[in-house]
Symmetry: C2
Subunit: 207 residues, 2 copies
Amino acid sequence: MLLADDEELIRTGLRVIIDAEADLEVVGEAGDGVDALEMVRRLKPDVVLMDVRMPTVDGLEATERIVSTVADPPKILVVTTFDNDEYVYQALRAGADGFLLKRARPDRLLEAIRVVVRGDSLLFPAAIRDLATRHRGRPSALRRAGLTEREEQVLRLMATGRTNAEIAAELYVSAETVKTHVGNVLGKLRVRDRTQAVIAAYESGFV
Amino acid sequence: MLLADDEELIRTGLRVIIDAEADLEVVGEAGDGVDALEMVRRLKPDVVLMDVRMPTVDGLEATERIVSTVADPPKILVVTTFDNDEYVYQALRAGADGFLLKRARPDRLLEAIRVVVRGDSLLFPAAIRDLATRHRGRPSALRRAGLTEREEQVLRLMATGRTNAEIAAELYVSAETVKTHVGNVLGKLRVRDRTQAVIAAYESGFV
DNA sequence: CAGTGTCTCCCCCACGCGGGGGAGCGCGTC
DNA sequence: GACGCGCTCCCCCGCGTGGGGGAGACACTG
């Protein structure tokens, strides 16, 4: 396992916790993203505990580079301090295998590591759930907006970046008809323009 | 624990697996969303295994209703058949505590249940990860688009649904300046209009 | 049967938006 | 100092967009 964190104190703490386990072993420590990438290539660890905020290259960028450039990349657990951290999704999109809070209890930390090592699963700490669900309530808003089937179709096509003319061609109707549907969607969603409608669609998980 | 699935075969299979465990007990079975909601109110289970596709009210809607209307709601594990199921995010946003594939091995299923019961954690099966990371590669596209700091600011404000004039007011610059930045953003992201730019921002995890 | 709702199409009009061009300023680099 | 670059501001122009109005066809329901 490789530890990547710019604070030595954190690295030491993690090392103590991890080395106490018979089945886990720390093979190296990196202080920034560049070091992390280099050490991954050289030491070929099976797991990396990756801090987000680091000098030179942050943990997200490092994760992305590792996943996209290293053959048979290690499992990467992104570790961060704040539970309201907006990096969660970005971490997963960058190719991380898991996400964890630094203040998690050691047994949870070890469990997360084992889960990631063993299978290919993601373990989310509790507080992170809020990030996934922070937009709750709103889907109902969109759901209860009472969009008709046609209006939903149009909204979906709007959310692909199409113009009214393109939507019209896609649905085999006139552009005027699409305009009507779009207008109805905007009214029902109580938004000003198509951009806000698309945002509402994304925020509510509609797309 | 409550099982909610429209296929009796599935319910039976789950019941057999679960009842074999000493610490887990199935207290009821629901065949659709309405039943599930009613039984949650009546039986007050601590966990619900919720299928997505069900008659009357689907599992997502049922989850949302339970979470938003039941006092002290049970933990809800959404169970689905397909690993390319786009319902994952919607499930989490609806308030589900976890997501699981039906074809998961029984021990994984039981582990997921225990994780959800014990703490408040989310367990993602492997294939689900692709959903979180399906837009990978693209963030780099956006990242490598070479947006300047100001352009990033403008893009973020665009992604909140603001007009150029509002962005201008927010940044204390003229609307013409904002137009220039917007134009640069569109060019660098290779998109046609602000709606597509916002979509790109969402798809790449920029927001 | 009448009423409601949805989908379809049309008109006019104001305006935000994006594309084209140019231009000055401050900054750091070579 | 020259140069590149980012930020700022301005012009004109075409057009997609959204708001206002109306209207006919069809299906479903009370």
